[in-house]
């Protein structure tokens, strides 16, 4: 039934939904009304329905009580009441929520770019939480995907804060379940298993304790080891749902410890009914994992990929297979084990194998039913056609299948024996395999599924041993399923070392949309967001989806706290560039050294410098050492350098932070696309300047890359150069974006390559960086850069207070609700 509100005889309000809460929220949030008008409306309401009055009264009182304590942020995002757990809000956060809301309303996908440090996560969470509360039937779940464990933990903490705030404001007990999920390595509480610390080993050990047939064996032989946490979970935990609340990884462990339940399996089960799930990309994108974990997640969910600027590479990685000779050797031994096991079982328990055979004849009906009824997330490795058919006769019996695998292996071995590089498409490969060893396409396609079934039947306890053969079978299925989007490259040796035979078969995915397609198809809304997604139009293209909203927000700033400078020349007018021809040029290296030296004397605390590749950095460091530049730099700051070793790098990183902390100041030399450039923030004094030496192009001579570029050109009409530049610039932006982590932070961004000045490069930087590059700072010499940096740093060193920001880049609720500000915000958003 619809409700209308009349004011002075004019219809001003109209609702279809009759739920009192929603009505009230909308009424309350509506900005067109002053408080006086609201009162009038309330009076009008009394005539119609008594209950509204009651609810409003209690609400008003509650609001009054809290308003005196703190002017809380209750935002009205196009009629949706959003609780925002801070006293102030950035204007771009408001616009971000607005766009997000529209995306959710349209039940479509979105691409949103907003600079890091402007509270992307909290805006996202508060809006989606509010949406979920307001329309519990339309969105039942939020799936938040992040990249690393620390990031996941961060998100959950923000969520905790938000939900606590929400409860305090509404006065209701929390009925939301939100949890983080990670691998066994991070969740296991079994004292022996968790002590292994290496992901694969933990998984394997866990499996050997908890697999179903092992537990079945234990019934007859109680002496077998078991995991008491899993047993506890299985006995009681399964039936008892996790009580509402926010569970970080540590909370899960604590809870598990208290109850004696396995936190990993508890979490695995709980994500099915949780309102908010936070986990890694791979749980959705990697078909092997997604099939286990995320298959049954509800369709009415919002999926968020945060820090998604690299999502295409994650997709590609999850679908690519590399086969070396070692893999094949291990496969051979795997197959032998299989064979002996089959032999043994045949003698003892032939019925089991027969049972399996029967099942296979019936086909993979189960899975098919599930997919048709739309309960499962599609698995790209398990193509739809496979589900409708029975496993072909040629591989139905166990012995036949093992024989089939053997043949396949021998074929692969022969392929690896080549002495020249081979590149072919999937159909070519299939044709060749049919001609040489008479393997048909159809049985190949069932390979992965058939192997899984066999392993289950044979009750193999430790699956980690069989990773090689699983890999091969996945390869077989993929190669026979997809005729497009993949390429096969066989390289007999590495380019740098032609004398050493090290044959590798790359089965490389070139189309990131294959892996992500099920996600887009299954879930109602998918949001791709990051600090650096420019140029925005390329992501929908390469991921092959049609977004309903595409938006980029800049950082509103009360003071210009970032200073991008493009250094194109040395003091001796030598053009600075890392391009291949001048890479070894002494003059360029020397000028780069001068730049770093001069900056080390000007910039306080920490400086981070990025090189285009590890090799390049090694060479430059060596020649700087010979020229004595490093010694001079050492007079100003300590030097730390990233190495390929993760542990060594993290040690260097910690020392770097220590040196920044104690005031000595330090320089960190690292590599774009390296470990430092991605996950680590250099807040405040940990990074006052970033210097980007050169444009971080990928290694363009790689065959895989070439194949991918070709594919992009043919399929998506993206020119090679465009893609390469896009890829280089997104990494440059990532590196450079490490310094600014908020509006109170400040930092220099120095692009030391004259090519950055070109419009095609500059134009691909995110808008929030681009708009601060002035025409005057496009081709600076080292000296000019130093002068401008000095000026900038001196300005930034002035005290900066909240009052300076208020009204410009920081808004109170009153300011936000003012007509003028709303107009301004919408204007800014439209520029995007």
């Amino acid at each position: 039934m619809a409700t209308c509100f009349y004011f002075l005889g004019k219809k001003i309000f109209y609702f279809e939904n009759n739920e009192p809460e929603i009505l009230l929220h909308r009424l309350y949030c509506h900005t067109h009304f002053t408080n006086a008008v609201k009162c009038c409306i309330v009076l009008h309401c009394i005539r119609y329905r008594k209950w509204i009055f009651n609810v409003i009264e209690s609400d008003v009182q509650k609001g009054k009580a809290s308003a005196t304590a703190l002017a809380n942020m209750k935002l009205n995002i196009e009629g949706l009441l959003v609780y925002f757990p801070y006293d102030y809000i950035y204007p771009e956060q408001y616009s971000y929520m607005l766009e997000l809301k529209r995306t959710l309303d349209a039940k479509g996908h979105g691409v949103l770019e907003m600079p890091s440090g402007t509270g992307k996560t909290i805006s996202l969470l508060s809006l989606i939480l509010a949406y979920q509360k307001a329309y519990p039937l339309e969105i039942t779940k939020l799936i938040y995907c992040s990249r690393t464990v620390p990031e996941i933990e961060k998100v959950v903490e923000e969520l905790r804060k938000l939900i606590e705030f929400h409860c305090k404001e509404t006065g209701e007990a929390n009925n939301f379940l939100a949890l983080a999920l990670s691998s066994r390595k991070n969740l296991c509480i079994h004292p022996e298993v968790s002590a292994l610390r290496i992901g694969k080993e933990v998984d394997g050990k866990c499996h050997s304790l908890t697999a179903s047939y092992i537990r079945a064996q234990r019934l007859s032989d109680p002496s077998l080891p078991s995991c008491r946490f899993y047993e506890g979970f299985d006995a009681i935990g399964r039936q008892v749902p996790l009580p509402p609340g926010v569970y970080n990884l540590d909370d899960l462990k604590e809870f598990g410890q208290k109850k004696g339940w396995c936190p990993y399996f508890l979490a695995r089960q709980a994500i099915l009914h949780a309102n908010i799930v936070v986990y890694s990309y791979h749980y959705l994108l990697d078909p092997k994992i997604a099939d286990l974990v995320s298959k049954e997640l509800t369709k009415k969910a919002v999926v968020v990929f945060d820090e998604a600027h690299n999502i295409d590479n994650v997709c590609i990685d999850s679908m690519s297979v590399n086969i070396t000779r070692r893999t094949l050797d291990r496969c051979t031994s795997n197959v032998e084990t299989l064979q002996t096991t089959i032999q043994r079982i045949k003698e003892t328990d032939a019925a089991k194998l027969k049972e399996e055979y029967r099942r296979l004849v019936e086909g993979l009906k189960e899975a098919n039913v599930a997919r048709v009824t739309d309960v499962y997330l599609g698995n790209p490795v398990l193509p739809a056609e496979v589900l409708q058919e029975a496993v072909p006769g040629s591989i139905r019996t166990a012995e036949h299948f093992v024989g089939f695998l053997k043949r396949f292996l021998e074929y692969l071995k022969s392929r690896l024996r080549v002495h020249h590089v081979v590149q072919e498409s999937a159909p070519q490969f299939l044709k060749d395999i049919f001609q040489k060893v008479c393997i048909d396409r159809k049985p190949l396609r069932f390979c992965a599924e058939r192997l899984r079934s066999l392993l289950r039947t044979l009750e193999i306890s430790d699956l980690t041993d069989f990773s090689a053969i699983t890999l091969i079978s996945n390869f077989a299925t993929l190669v026979s399923t997809y005729s497009q989007g993949f390429t096969i490259i066989i390289e007999p040796f590495e380019d740098r070392t032609p004398s050493i035979a090290n044959p590798v078969l790359h089965f490389s995915c070139m189309d990131p949309s294959i892996a992500i397609k099920p996600v887009f198809e299954r879930f109602q809304s998918v949001i791709i967001t990051s600090g650096t997604l420019s140029p925005l139009d390329i992501y929908p293209k390469i991921l092959d989806f049609r977004p309903v909203t595409v938006a980029s927000f800049t950082m509103t700033l009360a003071r210009t706290c970032l200073c991008p400078l493009i250094v194109g020349r040395g003091n001796d007018q030598v053009a600075l560039s890392s391009k291949f021809e001048t890479r070894e040029d002494f003059a360029v290296i020397r000028n780069y050294g001068n730049l770093l030296l001069e900056m080390s004397g000007v910039v306080p605390d920490g400086i981070v410098a990025f090189f285009t590749s590890y090799m390049y950095m090694e060479n430059i460091v060596a020649s700087w050492y010979e020229q004595g530049i490093l010694e001079n730099i050492q007079r100003n700051k300590l030097i730390f350098i990233e190495t390929p070793d993760a542990a060594e790098t993290s040690m260097a990183l910690e020392k770097y932070q220590e040196a920044c902390e104690n005031g000595r100041g330090a320089i960190l030399l690292s590599v774009a696309r390296g470990k430092v450039s991605e996950g680590i923030d250099f807040v405040h004094h940990f990074g006052r300047a970033v210097i980007m030496f050169g444009v971080p192009y990928v290694y363009t001579q790689s065959r895989i890359l070439k194949a991918r570029l070709e594919y992009l050109r043919d399929q998506f009409q993206i020119r090679e150069n465009d893609f390469l530049t896009f890829d280089a610039m997104r990494h440059a932006a990532q590196c450079v974006g490490r310094v600014i982590r908020g509006k109170t932070d400040y930092g220099l961004m120095i692009f030391a390559d004259k090519r950055y000045a070109r419009a095609d490069k500059r134009g691909k930087l995110p808008r929030w960086i681009q708009e601060h590059i002035s025409d005057g700072s496009l081709n600076l010499t080292v000296d000019e850069t130093v002068q401008m940096s000095k000026h900038f740093l001196r300005q930034m060193a002035q005290p900066f207070r909240q009052e300076d920001q208020l009204g410009l880049s920081l808004l109170t609720i009153e300011q936000l609700e003012s007509e003028e500000m709303l107009k301004k915000i919408s204007q800014m958003a439209h520029q995007a």
Partner: protein, 549 residues
């Protein structure tokens, strides 16, 4: 003038100075040189005046030793004894090397301290000028009294503050070519200390080998030849005593790394965390793997990188190592407790705090705590130069003023005059007349305020005189009661000091004043004070005489 009561530590004959043969004496507190056959020193330097010594390089024809003074002057001694010139020089050098630092520190510290005091206290400075510069009392006397107080203050902060290590100290050792295929390194004690502090392994080696196995010089020569110093050299000779150091360092490094691999805490976790996109894929070749046939060049490059990391870490560690060892250790153990053993249950609170920090947006929150008033400077130079006396006002907030007004109003309203104890108006006026300048009660005092009588420079001079006299008198009066021979001596000395003051300072001033303002007797009070002191001394002396008799 050669007071040979001093202890002579070393006598070297046949030392030339300014082309004159002579003898060099190293004494307890100074170094001196006298020409042959004469009984006096033409050159004499206190050790505390010497800044540093320089020696001529080996192989030079002339074997010389140069002393550079703080003033910048220098004197050069040429050792000309044919047979033992070198050993003589070495002996002198070694002795000086031991002696100089002792005096350097002492002298510098004292001087610095005194200098600081004088600079900080203008009154003291004036006093110093009045009393010491004009030679009323000697500098030692002046300081004797002061330093004792400062010394007690300073014992607390006596712990020497450590100087940090320059990151580039190795770079500061600039090798110089000597023209014939050799390199010369200049080492100062500072650099050596830096090396030892940064690389304890080298210090250990030094302790083990010098002086019984190697001379100091050989040790450093080897150090500079070793790959330990040259970071890009890889091969090590078997002879190299530093290869062990390198190994030791390497070992330390490796254990550190091992520890690290197990520590999974906070931000650093990022590097090993799951789900990091394998970036290398897209580029095809992994950037750098442990490739067996990397060229030597590449190997040395990565060695440089490792060394740089190591060197920087060592310097950082050297800074904190000195701090306070027990404290350091405690924090270290606690941190390992927090980090490495967190495998199962013990969630380090550090992690929680870090997470909280990471998610907070400070500027989105209202600032808590008391509201402070921002200092809004319209003219910052006025702030820098301090308040102008005319406008100096006590700062009161408007609330204060309002409060006080209401307070006063309240008092006024309740005011009841106590009429019983009031003087008559005539008595009051006579009392005021008596107390005014020129009145009955003010006869003895100066009739006019001094600032109306004399110009300001005379006033200033008078003030200085008062301060100086006060200081001297303070010295004088502290001697009473005289109960030790030292005090007896001092009191007599102070008397002569006072007399000298009267003669050299007070008299000229009096004469000057009299020349200008004949009538004004403004120094009367000063003289009175001095006279009182003399009287007291006289009384004491006569009493003592009486007692002796």
């Amino acid at each position: 003038m050669a007071s040979l009561s001093e202890e002579v530590l070393l006598v070297l004959k046949k030392v030339r100075q300014r082309k004159q043969d002579g003898t060099l004496y190293l004494m307890a507190e100074r170094i001196a040189w006298g020409p042959e056959g004469k009984d006096r020193f033409t050159v004499s330097h206190l050790y505390s005046d010497i800044r540093c010594q320089k020696i001529s390089p080996d192989g030079k024809a002339k074997i010389q030793l140069q002393l550079v003074l703080h003033t910048g002057e220098s004197s050069t001694f040429h050792f000309s004894n044919d047979s033992s010139a070198l050993t003589d020089r070495e002996a002198a050098k070694d002795l000086l090397q031991q002696l100089l630092p002792k005096f350097k520190k002492k002298a510098n510290k004292e001087l610095e301290e005194k200098n600081r005091m004088l600079q900080e206290d203008p009154v003291l400075f004036q006093l110093y000028k009045d009393l010491v510069v004009s030679q009323v009392i000697s500098a030692e006397e002046f300081w004797a009294n002061r330093m004792s107080t400062t010394n007690t203050e300073n014992t607390l902060s006596d712990k020497k503050q450590d100087v940090g290590i320059s990151a580039a100290f190795l770079a500061d050792i600039r090798p110089q070519t000597d023209g014939c295929n050799g390199l010369r390194y200049n080492l100062t004690p500072d650099i050596i200390e830096s090396i030892f502090r940064t690389y304890p392994a080298v210090q250990q080696k030094y302790g083990e080998n010098v002086p019984h196995n190697l001379t100091e010089k050989e040790f450093w020569t080897r150090f500079f030849q070793s790959h330990y110093f040259h970071r890009d050299r890889i091969s090590t000779g078997a002879l190299d005593i530093f290869s062990e150091c390198a190994k030791q360092d390497e070992k330390g490094n490796v254990t550190h790394l091992e520890l690290y691999r197990y520590i999974r805490s906070g931000v650093l976790n990022v590097l090993t965390a799951e789900g990091l996109p394998k970036e290398k894929k897209i580029g095809g070749k992994p950037a750098s793997t442990s490739n067996p046939n990397r060229t030597g060049k590449e190997n040395s490059n990565s060695a440089i990188i490792k060394r740089f990391n190591h060197h920087s870490a060592m310097i950082l560690a050297a800074g904190s190592r000195r701090g306070d060892a027990p404290n350091d250790q405690a924090s270290e153990t606690s941190s390992t407790d927090g980090n490495s053993r967190d495998s199962d249950l013990f969630q380090p609170p550090i992690k929680k705090v870090k997470l909280q920090e990471a998610i907070d947006y400070l500027d989105l929150q209202r600032e808590d705590g008391p509201k402070t008033v921002a200092l809004n400077l319209k003219k910052s130079d006025r702030y820098a130069h301090g308040p102008v006396p005319l406008e100096s006002q006590k700062y009161t907030t408007s609330q204060d003023i309002i409060n006080s007004i209401t307070c006063i109003r309240h008092e006024m309203a309740n005011y009841v005059p106590n009429l019983a104890q009031v003087l008559t108006s005539s008595a009051v006026s006579s009392a005021i007349a008596a107390l005014s300048p020129g009145g009955v009660l003010m006869q003895t005092g100066t009739q006019q305020a001094i600032n109306q009588m004399v110009p300001s420079e005379v006033q200033g001079e008078l003030k200085h005189l008062y301060i100086a006299a006060g200081e001297l008198l303070r010295h004088f009066w502290t001697c009473f009661p005289v109960n030790s021979p030292f005090l007896e001596e001092k009191v007599v000395k102070m008397r002569s000091n006072l007399e000298r003051f009267q003669m050299t300072k007070l008299r000229p001033f009096q004469e000057k004043v009299q020349r200008q303002y004949l009538s004004a007797n403004i120094t009367g009070h000063l003289e009175e004070m001095l006279q009182t002191a003399y009287n007291k001394l006289h009384a004491w002396q006569t009493r003592r005489m009486m007692r002796k008799i």
